[in-house]
């Protein structure tokens, strides 16, 4: 056997020739004919030379040559051997296109179904992508690691933030104390770079004489910009010289804040602004895509040196006195080439645990784990930091799972719907497929043809779905509590997801119908026709798919019902005070340099000023706004009782007409007066819930309560109102006098009959008149405030109703299609029945009964599935159980009613079958 050795074949030339051959098919075919004709002529001439007559010579030549067309075909095959698939693909596509043109309705419904399914899943994925997968916009993000820890916090006397509990007394967190972070920094040679950062919200920036709230500031250590590899787009980054307590304050602006506040003016570099009244020089502007590493939900407006955190936010963290107390500092690093994260983790692990022990010893704790550390003591864990490693994401895990389930169900419903459509279409094309098979088309070839059609549909649906996802992603993010993500920028991952989802669905819903369509017994097909037999199994499969669709829709609709009811129940909850005409805003006096008594005095002045506004009825001042998801919970007990008897108590410092504004008349004793100031003994007003939990039936008046290192004497008792959340019962609450408080930040609640616009400008005028450096923060109505708490519930309710509505639509379209097809198939049989005396009414009932049978089966499956699935969302519900019978019955009735509507028309058509016409057609 001779082995071909390809030596110097120029591959590119070869490919080019093939390409040319592929696209110049007609021309090459013509040349081939020409060449063969020339061949025949030459042969004929030769024959003539040998003495044949002209005709004889020509015939002989043709005889010798054989079939010109066969030779051409073989030559063609030879020529395009490598391109046969492409050739056939264009054929398939061409043919699919013609098929689609014949059935535009089918294509429209199928595409719409698919685009809804694929669009929903892709939109969801784009949100998840933004949260979980997208790396930070820095070079070589994969080298970044985020320091985290896991273990039992029980014995550590510290305050933790962003901690995720997984199991009893086991927590995970990504923040460390300043003390620990400093110990890490001393060891930074183990990494290429190591940097520390923390975020603080609500900075007041004064620029050009205008005070304004700037949002979050990220305090970053010297190595931050360099370690991340972030290059400022203007000016310079923060460096070692800036990160010193005595250094002049330097600030880097985020691109967004720079554009919003300074109109993107490059001349801001070198400008001095006031950050919480501290003069700071703008030295740089961060690149547009970089918003800090706390990417998810916390986007920085400013970057400031870590060393200035105490100077700008006095008392916020108490770092000088207690550096190991507040665990709020993120630590990240960049690995050295060739050094694994595991190795670095091992190096830092001991440092981490020792720093906790050392801190406990330094702060004079009694137990310092002399007999060794317990096994569940927190351990260091280095995690990939390419996406910033934010932990908020983990907490959002449950919500994302519900969203994923919703989107997945939608995709599944869309798939079953299209599969059913294809099934019906395959049955309608039986004759055509049979003819093609009879003419010698290969089964595999036909299968491929049908799959091509399915994939083409999926591709179209996917493209349309991608468009939905494009704007849907933003809408979804806005609806969700991830609204701070802002604009969703779909990247190649989202695109890839859409492509994979479309292809998978195409194969998934295309394969079975295609297989079925090509499994035809030609004898049966051409003898009896498809009217009587053959399509039964297709119908059975169709009914099964329909059942699945009904079941899935039931689950989604039950979810929608439960979420909607939850939202309604939450809105109907009595928070304990009238919400009408109540306006809320905050003042951050600490950022304008006010603390303690001075702050309290300022707040009273503002309250007095607000009273002067026309229409004002009452003005309340408190540390925390009511029912706004904010507050502080401490362990509290009657003074003198042992520490073990502590119960959780909520605390709020209040002033102005707080009790009048929130309609809290005293049940016993008195409320605060102007005499309850810092010079007077500390007094407390408590609510009934506290009296019941701590004092039982005794009168609390005059008793002393100890909490959070404070002791206060109870002087009054008031009614219960909600504290921070709507969902939870009213906690035991202690109200302290603002005049005796320490807070530098306060929330105002103004009850006023004035028009909103008038009131808003009035409030700003009053505050500005008293302290020009104090912006009015977040002015909103109390109703808006409460509604904000329901973000998650609102999102679920809206989304599940949307998905449920689409599911209902798809089910009714699917049902209608299936039954119309079934009736068409059975026209003959129905004709016979009618000829034998069946009344139209009975035929109608028969069709309805048959279809309702599998709808009912779907409902049964749906109830069982929903029963199991809704358990997973039990914690998200309020005021009803996941197996709420009313919701289940309502949804079943709704689905049954819609099914009946969808069946009505086909059943009517069945009842109107004219036996004569039907039998004649047979």
């Amino acid at each position: 056997m001779i082995r071909r050795v390809h030596v110097t074949v120029d591959k590119k030339m070869k490919l080019f020739r093939k390409f040319r051959a592929f696209f110049r098919k007609e021309k090459l075919d013509a040349e081939m004919s020409e060449e063969m004709r020339a061949h025949l002529e030459l042969q004929a001439t030769e024959n003539q030379k040998r003495g044949m007559s002209a005709d004889e010579a020509r015939y002989a030549a043709q005889r010798a040559f054989g079939g010109v067309e066969q030779i051409k075909e073989r030559a063609r095959d030879e020529r395009r051997r490598g391109w046969l698939w492409l050739d056939q693909l264009t054929q398939d596509l061409h043919y699919a296109w013609r098929q689609f043109q014949q059935a535009p309705g089918f294509v429209a419904v199928a595409m719409l179904s698919l685009s809804l399914g694929i669009g929903a899943t892709t939109a969801l994925f784009s949100v998840v992508n933004e949260a979980l997968f997208k790396p930070l916009p820095v070079p070589h993000a994969r080298e970044l690691v985020r320091f985290t820890w896991a273990g039992n916090l029980g014995q550590i006397d510290s305050s933790f933030s962003d901690v995720v509990g997984d199991g009893p007394s086991h927590w995970t967190g990504a923040s460390f104390s300043f003390f620990t972070a400093q110990r890490f920094q001393e060891q930074d040679r183990l990494l290429q770079s190591l940097f520390v950062f923390t975020s603080i919200g609500g900075h007041t920036i004064v620029a050009d004489g205008q005070a304004e709230e700037a949002g979050t500031g990220d305090y970053v250590s010297a190595g931050y910009f360099e370690g991340l590899g972030v290059r400022v787009s203007l000016g310079r980054a923060l460096g070692v010289a800036d990160d010193r307590a005595d250094a002049p304050l330097a600030v880097v602006l985020s691109d967004a804040y720079w554009r919003r506040r300074f109109g993107g003016d490059p001349a801001v570099i070198g400008k001095t602004i006031l950050v919480n009244l501290n003069p700071a020089t703008i030295v740089g502007v961060a690149p547009a895509e970089f918003r800090g590493v706390g990417a998810f939900g916390r986007k920085a407006a400013l970057f400031l040196p870590l060393a200035s955190v105490e100077r700008i936010n006095p008392g916020a963290f108490d770092l000088t006195a207690r550096p190991g107390f507040r665990w709020v500092f993120g630590v990240m690093g960049r690995l050295r080439p060739g050094v694994s994260a595991t190795k670095v983790e091992a190096e830092f692990a001991a440092t981490f645990q020792r720093s906790i022990v050392d801190n406990a010893r330094l702060s004079g704790a009694q137990h310092v784990w002399a007999e060794g550390l317990p096994p569940d003591f927190p351990r260091l864990k280095l995690r990939p930091g390419s996406n910033g490693g934010e932990f908020v994401v983990l907490r959002a895990g449950g919500e994302l799972a519900v969203l994923a389930a919703l989107a997945g169900t939608m995709l599944l419903i869309a798939c079953t719907n299209v599969a059913n459509l294809l099934l019906a279409r395959g049955a309608a094309r039986r004759r055509e497929i049979a003819v093609r098979l009879a003419l010698g088309a290969g089964r595999a070839r036909l299968l491929r043809q049908l799959l091509t059609e399915a994939l083409l549909l999926a591709g179209g649906g996917g493209a349309l779905g991608g468009l939905f996802a494009w704007w849907g992603g933003d809408a979804l993010a806005a609806m969700s509590r991830f609204s701070s993500v802002g604009h969703i920028e779909p990247d190649w991952r989202v695109f890839g997801f859409a492509v994979v989802a479309s292809t998978l669905t195409g194969v998934l819903f295309g394969l079975v119908p295609a297989q079925r369509a090509t499994r035809i017994d030609l004898n049966v097909e051409f003898q009896g026709g498809p009217r009587t037999t053959g399509s039964r199994s297709a119908l059975r499969l169709g009914k099964t798919l329909m059942m699945v669709q009904v079941a899935l829709s039931f689950v989604v609709l039950v979810g929608a019902g439960l979420f909607a009811a939850t939202l309604r129940n939450l809105r109907a909850v009595d928070v304990g005070f009238p919400r009408e005409r109540l306006w809320v805003f905050e003042l951050a006096a600490n950022s304008a340099g006010y603390r303690g008594e001075r702050a309290a005095a300022l707040f009273e002045r503002v309250a007095a000023g607000l009273h002067e506004l026309p229409g004002t009825q009452t003005v309340a001042v408190s540390t925390f706004p009511l029912v706004a998801g904010q507050g502080t919970i401490n362990g509290g007990r009657i003074d003198g009782t042992p520490a073990g008897s502590s119960v959780s108590v909520a605390v709020n410092e209040v002033g102005g007409d707080f009790f009048a504004t929130f309609d809290l008349p005293t049940v016993e004793g008195r409320t605060f007066t102007a005499r309850d100031d810092s010079s007077a003994p500390k007094v407390a007003v408590v609510n009934r819930a506290l009296v019941e939990t701590i004092f039982g039936h005794e009168s609390p008046l005059g008793r002393r309560i100890r909490f959070a290192n404070t002791v206060a004497t109870v002087v009054g008792v008031v009614r219960d109102v909600k504290y921070d959340k709507v969902r939870e019962a009213v906690p035991a609450t202690i109200y302290l006098s603002l005049g005796q408080g320490t807070g530098g930040r306060a929330s105002f609640a103004v009850r006023s009959a004035a028009a909103p616009a008038v009131l808003a400008s009035g409030i700003r005028r009053v505050v500005h008149g008293i302290e020009p450096n104090l912006p009015v923060l977040d002015l909103r109505t109390q109703d808006e405030q409460i509604e904000r708490l329901f973000g998650t519930e609102r999102m679920f309710s809206r989304l599940s109703i949307l998905v449920g509505g689409v599911a209902l639509l798809l089910v009714s379209v699917g049902l209608y299609g299936l039954m119309a097809y079934a009736v068409a198939r059975r026209t003959g049989e129905i004709g016979v029945r009618m000829a034998l005396g069946a009344l139209p009414g009975r035929v109608f009932a028969m069709i309805v009964r048959e279809s309702l049978a599998f709808v009912a089966a779907g409902l049964v499956v749906g109830v069982a599935t929903a029963w199991a699935a809704t358990r997973l969302i039990a914690s998200l519900l309020f005021g009803l159980t996941p197996t709420d019978p009313l919701t289940y019955c309502g949804v079943a009735l709704l689905l049954g009613f819609v099914a009946l509507l969808a069946i009505w028309l086909p059943a009517r058509r069945a009842a109107k079958v004219d036996p004569m016409v039907a039998l004649r057609a047979e």
Binding site: M1, I2, R3, R4, V5, H6, V7, T8, V9, D10, M13, K14, R17, K18, A21, E31, M32, E34, E35, M36, A38, H39, E41, L42, Q43, T45, E46, A64, F65, G66, Q70, I71, K72, R74, A75, D77, E78, R79, R81
Partner: protein
């Protein structure tokens, strides 16, 4: 004498080699190639058109021969084929392989 047509796989490779060999002497049209092979083999080998043209297209795709329309001896339009550089090299390789192969087969046939 029974005529052998190049139909089997084994001989198809040989046909390619023969075509290359024939074209090595100069350009020629399809009919001429078939005629020449028949002449040279003293009418033992006959190249059917059903094998010839697919082989020509195949060789052309490989880049070993190229074609051009021209006028034949009888003043008729015909497509002429000629060897490319790559084709010349390929012919050398095939010639060498063929020589080795026939030698080897010859040895076996002699000894057995």
């Amino acid at each position: 004498m029974a005529k052998n047509d190049f139909q089997t796989d084994l001989l198809q490779g040989t046909l390619d080699m023969l075509i290359l060999r024939v074209l090595n002497r100069g350009e020629m049209h399809g009919w001429g190639i078939a005629d020449r092979i028949e002449q040279l083999s003293k009418k033992v080998l006959s190249v059917g058109e059903g094998s010839l043209y697919p082989a020509l297209y195949r060789l052309q795709d490989q880049g070993w021969i190229e074609s051009e329309w021209g006028v034949s001896d009888h003043n008729r339009k015909a497509k002429f084929y000629r060897l490319t550089k790559a084709g010349k090299k390929q012919l050398e390789v095939e010639q060498e392989t063929w020589d080795r192969l026939t030698l080897a087969i010859g040895e076996i046939m002699k000894s057995a």
